[in-house]
Structure formats: C-alpha cells, structure tokens
C-alpha cells in the first residue's frame, strides 16, 4: 500500500475496568475462604473463626472445599465443580457503564447467529450496545477490579508478563497518508518472539526493533480507517496471539489467545503512541485458564475460587454459540491497548539491509 508505515510495540493489553460508583452494590465477590464460610451455618462460621480452630478452618477451606469428589483440583479442573452448589456464580457488576465495543451489532443484546442473549452496557461517553460480559462477571472480584488509584491487579499482572518477555505483540499500520484522516489503511497485529528492553522504571523503550513471529498463525491482518486521528479496524473473525505460560501439565497447552469478532479502536496520540481498546470474544477456556494456571495454589494462596470463576464465565458467555447445544463458548471483553513506536521486521526482511537513519 502507498503511504506511511507505522510500527508499534504493545505495552498494555489487559482487561478494561470502568470504575463506576455503584458497580458492586452487593459487595465484592467472596474470596475462597469467604465463599467457604458462606456455605456454613452462622454458628459454625463463628466457631471456625475462633483462633483455636484456625487449623481446622484452614484445612476445610484449603483442602475439602477446593477438592472435588474424586480428588479434582479446583483450579485445574473447574468443570467438575459446575454442579457443586457450594461454589456460586460471582457477584456481578450492576453498573450500566463499561468500556468496550458493540460486538454483536445489537443495542439490546438479543440472541443472534453469533451471540447469545445478554445484557448490554453503555459506554463511558454514552454510546449504546457495549458488550463486556467478562467485566460483568469479574468486575466485582477484588484482585481483578483493583481500585481507581492503582488500577486492576489483574491488568498489572498481564502487562508485567509483557515486560518479562513472556509474550509481546506488535501493531503495524500501513498505507497511512494522513495521521488524522486516511480512508483505508492495512493493520497488522502480530506476536513477536523478541523480548522488549525496559528502562530503569520498567517501562518499554520506544523505537526498539522487533521481528514478526515465525508462526503464521499469530499473524493477523485487517483493514481500517482513520477518522480524526482515531483508527477503527474492520472485524477480524478469528485472531490468534501467543499467550505464553511457562507451565507443565494441562495449562501448558493453553498457549494462545483465540479472539473472535475482533475490533480495534485506537487513537494516534500526538506523542507518537497508540491508545484505545480492543473488543472481542475470547474462549472461556482460555480466559479462565489465565486466572487459574497456577493450579490449586490460585484458590488457596491467591484466594480465588476458580470453580466460581469458571461457572460464572460459562453462565454469562455471550459469543460463539455451540452449534449443538446453543450454549455460548466465548465471552465478550474489552482490552485496554497502549503501544509505543517500534520498528517491525517481517520474515522476508530478516536479511534485508536497512539503511535509513536520522
């Protein structure tokens, strides 16, 4: 394409959290020990909370409550807890506003060929039809939500993964004639195996060079347009990106995002960075695995009830219906996206001599 090419290293790619005043009127979702106590009678709760019964309490919630009838690990095999009423669906976000995009094209969340019936949010600027069921399910979980000052703990964790070089993503805008308005650009979203260099404050350096991944599955291309400095992409039906966990066992196999119906809305900032959101559906298997990849320790040390999380995502899943059961397998989400300028080398350029410098 004729026009300028801009490369970016994604520095933030984590769930968007909107901090509304009355988002969680019922309180925050119980942690694992709290959820366990809620399964007990009031008298038994008081007894277990006495200091002399601390060991018994710990054994019950860390062992009995987090182990399935056949010895299943609550985080490695949350499916086996789907019918276990001791692990309830999360307390959900009751606020009406969320970040995100309209993925199903409806304003009311009615069922379509690609979505299940669900409730919609309004955007922070009042735009209707926002889909973000992941936020609805997880937005009242303490660790996931965080607070307005420090942000989401989960987002911090996810973005640190990129700083640690577990996985990194690139965005390339090609054919840009004017950074404020260009009718048509090509947009590449790629994984890269190259690690990012960080400055002394652990921020990604600008103007680094990254090679596009050798795995063609993790290379995604779409088109878009720039209006008033905001890039909006056409829908990518399925977008795979590397998602690396250095794990053994079943979760080691969950090594990529599988986003569906992907939309980007990114602002080209005057300081050369990109800022915006990505709206998409992600597989509940992948999404839930991100929280529970550490196994049972996530439920005990991390105090997150993996069974409840999985069950909640399954209940609120709104995308990609199973053709047989009609049950949706994916959940809508919004990811905050930020990116800094970078140079992107494509596989065919790996041996090309580049000679341009200021």
């Amino acid at each position: 394409m004729q026009g300028k090419t801009l490369g970016f290293l994604v520095t933030k790619f984590s769930p968007s959290v909107y901090y509304g005043e009355n988002d969680c009127p019922d309180g925050l979702t119980p942690t694992t020990d709290e959820a366990f106590l809620l399964t007990q009678t009031p008298a038994e709760r008081l007894r277990l909370l006495k200091p002399e019964n601390a060991l018994e309490f710990e054994k019950k919630w860390k062992t009995d409550y987090t182990t399935g009838p056949n010895g299943e690990d609550i985080c490695r095999n949350p499916r086996s807890f789907l019918n276990d009423d001791r692990h309830p669906v999360h307390l959900t976000v009751k606020g009406a506003v969320s970040h995100g995009m309209n993925l199903d094209g409806t304003d009311d969340g009615r069922a379509t060929a690609r979505s299940c019936k669900h409730e919609k949010f309004r955007g922070p600027n009042g735009e209707p039809g926002i889909d973000n069921q992941l936020y609805r399910v997880m937005g009242c979980a303490k660790n996931w939500r965080g607070d307005p000052t420090n942000g989401s703990g989960m987002a911090l964790k996810y973005n640190n993964y990129m700083k640690d070089g577990l996985h990194n993503y690139l965005i390339e805008i090609r054919g840009m004639k004017d950074p404020r308005n260009t009718e048509e650009v090509e947009v590449g979203i790629y994984s890269t195996e190259d690690k990012s260099m960080l400055d002394g404050a652990r921020e990604h350096l600008r103007n680094q060079t990254f090679a596009v991944t050798k795995n063609p599955r993790w290379r995604n291309v779409t088109r878009g347009k720039i209006v008033d400095g905001v890039l909006t992409t056409e829908v990518i039906d399925t977008m795979y990106l590397d998602w690396f966990f250095a794990l053994n066992g079943p979760f080691g196999a969950v090594n990529e995002h599988e986003f569906r119906q992907v939309h980007f809305r990114l602002s080209l900032e005057t300081d050369g960075t990109l800022k915006g959101v990505m709206g998409a559906y992600d597989s509940i298997e992948v999404q839930s695995a991100q929280g529970r990849h550490g196994g049972k320790g996530v439920a005990t040390n991390g105090n997150r009830d993996c069974a409840s999380e999985y069950k909640s995502m399954a209940v609120y899943a709104d995308g990609v219906p199973d053709p047989v059961t009609g049950q949706c397998t994916h959940i809508s989400l919004s990811q905050d996206v930020e990116a800094v300028p970078a140079y992107i080398i494509h596989p065919e350029q790996q041996s090309t001599k580049v000679a341009s410098a200021k």
Partner: protein, 540 residues
C-alpha cells in the same frame, strides 16, 4: 582479511618511501631518559593470558593510572608507582595466578618437573624458562637457582612440591620487574647507550600487541636481530600482520578518545530513559568496531573516520539511533543514509554522550573534546568562579536553544576567550541530544548547527566532520598521540622535528594507521634513550 590488508600496506609503504624520499635519515631526536612504566590493567591481563593461558583468571583491583593533563593514560604509566595497598593487590593476584598455573589442570602445560632427585635441576630450568617470559629478559643462573631454592623451601613448609613452586612463581609475578616495563640499557658497538635487545622487544611488543613479547620476539632479541634494521623490520612486520595488532589499536583509540570514561557515564533516567545498560555497553564497542574495520581491515585513511557512513549496530543501539535492526542479537554492519544527519565518529553516540551532561547536551564539552582529543589543541581550564546558571537553564523562556544560552554565556569577557574556540564547533552537533539521539528542535525552536572550524564553514555535523577531516591538525594529532602511546610518555621538544617529518610521511602513506605504526616501530627514535648513566644497567 588481515593478510590482504598487510599486503596492501606493504605496497603503500613502498610507494610512500619513493614519493617522499624517506630513504633520507630520519631527523635526530634526543630520546628520553631510560625509565619504567607500569603495565596497564589490560597489559597485565593480556600478559598473564599469553603466558599461562586465557583460562587463568586474574582477580583483583588495579590501582588507576591517572591521565596526565592533555595526555594519554598510556603516558601516565611512566609517571606512577604502586602504593602499599596496590602492591597487596598485585601480590594477591600474583599468588592466585601462580596457584592456578600449578594446579592439576594447568601445570603440565608449564612444567614437567615432579618431586624426586631430579627436581632441583628441573625446577631451576623451569624458572629460567618461565622467568624469560615473565620478566621479559633472561634470568641469570643465580636468579634461577634462587627461585628454585625458594620453591624447595616453600615446598617443605607447605608439604606440597607444586605449592612450593607456585609460591616462588608468585614471588616472580609480584616482582616490580614484571609489574613494570623497565628500560634496560647497554652500550652498543659504537659506545652509545641504547636499550638492550630485550627492552627493545618489550617496548615493541607493548606497542604493537599491548602485551608481553611472544617467544618469537624473545628469540629475535636473543639473536640480536632487533639491533639490526632488517631483523627489527621482520619482527615489526610479523606483529603488524598479527591479529594481535587489533588489541593494541583498540587500546590506543580507547585512550585517545577517552572511551574508558564510558564505564562511569551516567545519564538522568527520567530525561534519557533509553540510556539502558545494554546501550551503554554497546556504545564504545560500536566506536572501536568502526575504527578497527576502517583503519585495519580496510586499511583506510584515518581522516575518513570523521566522514565515514559505515559503522556497526546492535538492537539496543538502534533505539538511540532510531533505526530498525533486523538481527536480534550481535553486531551488524550498518551504513547511514547519504541524506541523513550522521557520518563519522563525531555523530556517533559514544562521542556525543560522553561529551554531554547527565541531563542535557553540551556544545562546550563537545567542542572541547573535539579540540583536545581530535585536534590536540588544549583548552585552558575554566576559572573556579564561573556562573553556569544561564547555560544550565534549559527551560529558559527567552534563551530556548543551547546556541542562545552559550552565546549569552560568552558575553562574559572572562568566558569568551575559551568558549569561542569550543562552542561554535560544538554547536554543530546540537541536533544530537545528551545521549546522541537525533532531534531537529529544542523547546520548539529549530536547531541551527552552522558554524566554522578554523575558518572552514559548515552547516551541520556531517559538514563539520568533513572540516575535521581536512584540518591539518587532525592528522598531526594522530601522529603525536600514536607516538605518545608507543613511547608511553609525552613527546619531547627534541622530538618535534622528527614528529613533523613523521606527519609528512603519514600523509604520503595515505594517512594509514598501520603504516604509521610501522614507521614508528622501525624508527631509531622509538628506541632512543638519553645517554646518561643508567642505574639499572648491569644490575640484573
């Protein structure tokens, strides 16, 4: 590639001899009094690696060698001794090295002696052999016997034959005769005092390899070849063709351009977040690779270092230069674009970052460095009561660019004299910030990089590099610095005519650094000592 470069050099040298009539005797010099020079840390490490093998570790701290004002660190080696604390370090390092040399993994490569009735003779022979390479001169029989006797005594105390040898070997390595290169003199056949053959070998070796003489050079010394022009030239050409020459060339340019200061360089991480460790580590290597490729492998004109667009890059450096680097790790050749803002050493980040402040660029420091390091034109030290507040105020509402600020600073009569020789040329590099990244504006004002170098006008850093290339002082400075590096002392007034002549020959040789090193290495001036009685002579 070295062989090709060496052949090319020979041809150039022959042509140059014919062109300049260099068959004439070289101008006489006075020479310097015989002296002694402390080995630099690099020379010490290189020597240990050459003698005992590269896997023998040298662990310890070396006392710094102070850079004389307007001189090379190399010249500082002749002006420094060893403090008691410094000697403790040498002593510890010596014994650590000796212990490694005599451990099971290494001793077979050094010595075949074993405990038993033949041990004394064998150990004496060992010390005679190893003493030659460590002390860079033959040991007398009495010396070798003394070292062997000490080893024997130590072995009895330690209850270990090899530990005894190691202790005696450590004593030799801790000797000032190893730590210092000593000018030993003798009277030649004409009765004139001269360096003896082994002292010549040392001087030549430290100049061309930055290390102790190898066996071939010691053998040549033993045969007396180094006192003969033909024999000396043969050894010089052998060393010039060796890959070891690069070690010396790197040491020279590190010293000349003050690259050793890179290790202590600090930048404000808030202002320059990209100045990370990987960048800092690659910075001097980029300069040295550029230099060695140009002056050794390509046998290029030294002055072209200030105009060349060819260099090397790594991914971390690409961040500072704002260029994509396809290769994920290691070094790649790189060429700046013809219409770009960079060409030559003055536009590379090492020079730019080293000669800037922690949080801002500095036309003054850059101009000073260019004058002193490249043109050998010392700039006087500023008075102690200078008010720098104006030049430091980078957010000044009225003086928005460095040009504005230093121009205002120069309005002070006490400052103007020196600043007018530094600032106008330093401002030519103002399109590069304090770490060497390109910028075309400061505080929203377009940067003016025009100026003149000794009457030659330039409009930007690339043209400044061309002006430096063409400035006669550039080549003359290199010649003077190379001689200072070779002699490891500043040039003397009695050597001026010789150096002027050498500068003319350098030009006739096409400004080739290898050819210059050869001219020095085969010259009489390089080895000349003043004919005063020498206290070391005859006291081995």
């Amino acid at each position: 590639m070295f062989a090709i470069a060496a052949r090319r050099f020979t041809l150039v040298a022959l042509l140059a001899t014919g062109l300049c009539g260099c068959g004439n005797p070289e101008p006489a010099t006075t020479g310097a009094p015989a002296g002694m020079r402390r080995l630099t840390e690099e020379q010490y490490r290189n020597s240990i690696a050459d003698i005992f093998g590269p896997d023998v570790k040298v662990s310890g701290r070396f006392e710094p060698i102070l850079r004389p004002q307007h001189g090379l660190v190399a010249a500082g080696t002749s002006q420094i001794s060893v403090s008691p604390a410094g000697f403790e370090q040498y002593y510890t390092m010596a014994n650590t090295v000796a212990a490694q040399a005599m451990d099971e993994a290494h001793r077979a490569t050094m010595m075949t002696c074993a405990p038993g009735p033949e041990a004394d003779a064998c150990v004496t022979a060992f010390f005679k052999r190893v003493g030659l390479v460590i002390l860079r001169r033959p040991l007398t029989d009495a010396e070798a016997t003394a070292y062997a006797a000490a080893a024997n005594e130590s072995a009895k105390t330690a209850g270990d034959f090899y530990a005894g040898v190691a202790l005696s070997l450590g004593t030799m390595l801790a000797s000032p005769q190893f730590i210092f290169e000593i000018d030993r003199t003798e009277r030649g056949p004409d009765g004139v005092v001269r360096l003896d053959a082994y002292a010549k070998a040392s001087r030549l070796s430290f100049f061309l390899t930055n290390s102790t003489p190898d066996q071939a050079l010691l053998d040549a010394a033993a045969r007396g070849d180094l006192h003969e022009a033909k024999g000396l030239a043969k050894q010089v050409d052998r060393l010039l063709a060796s890959s070891r020459l690069e070690t010396s060339v790197r040491a020279f340019f590190t010293d000349m351009f003050g690259l050793d200061a890179t290790a202590e360089l600090v930048k404000d991480p808030v202002i320059y977040p990209s100045f990370v460790r990987a960048v800092k580590e690659d910075m001097p290597e980029q300069t040295l690779r550029t230099i060695t490729q140009h002056v050794l492998l390509d046998d290029g004109d030294y002055r072209d270092l200030f105009t060349t667009r060819r260099t090397f890059m790594t991914r971390p450096l690409g961040v500072i230069y704002g260029v994509p680097i396809a290769q994920a790790s290691g070094w790649v050749p790189y060429e700046f674009s013809r219409d770009g803002s960079r060409a030559g050493l003055l536009t590379m980040m090492n020079f730019l970052a080293l000669n800037s402040h922690d949080g801002r660029s500095s036309p003054t420091l850059r101009g000073k460095a260019l004058r002193e390091l490249v043109l050998c034109q010392p700039v006087p030290i500023p008075p102690g009561n200078v008010d720098f507040s104006l030049v430091q105020d980078t957010k000044n509402k009225e003086l928005k660019t460095a040009r504005d600020r230093v121009t205002a600073h120069r309005a002070e009569p006490t400052c103007a004299g020196c600043h007018k020789i530094m600032d106008p040329i330093g401002l030519g590099m103002e399109t590069f910030d304090g770490v060497g990244s390109f910028r075309d504006a400061e505080n929203g004002i377009s940067i003016d990089t025009s100026g003149d170098l000794d009457g030659v006008k330039f409009s930007n850093a690339v043209e400044l590099g061309k002006a430096v290339h063409d400035n006669p002082a550039t080549a003359a400075c290199l010649v003077n610095r190379m001689y200072e590096f070779a002699e490891r002392r500043p040039a003397l007034s009695g050597e001026k005519a010789w150096l002027d002549n050498l500068t003319r020959i350098f030009a006739a040789d096409g400004y080739r650094v290898r050819a210059l090193m050869r001219r020095i290495a085969v010259s009489e001036a390089f080895y000349k000592v003043q004919p005063e009685p020498n206290t070391v002579e005859g006291k081995r």
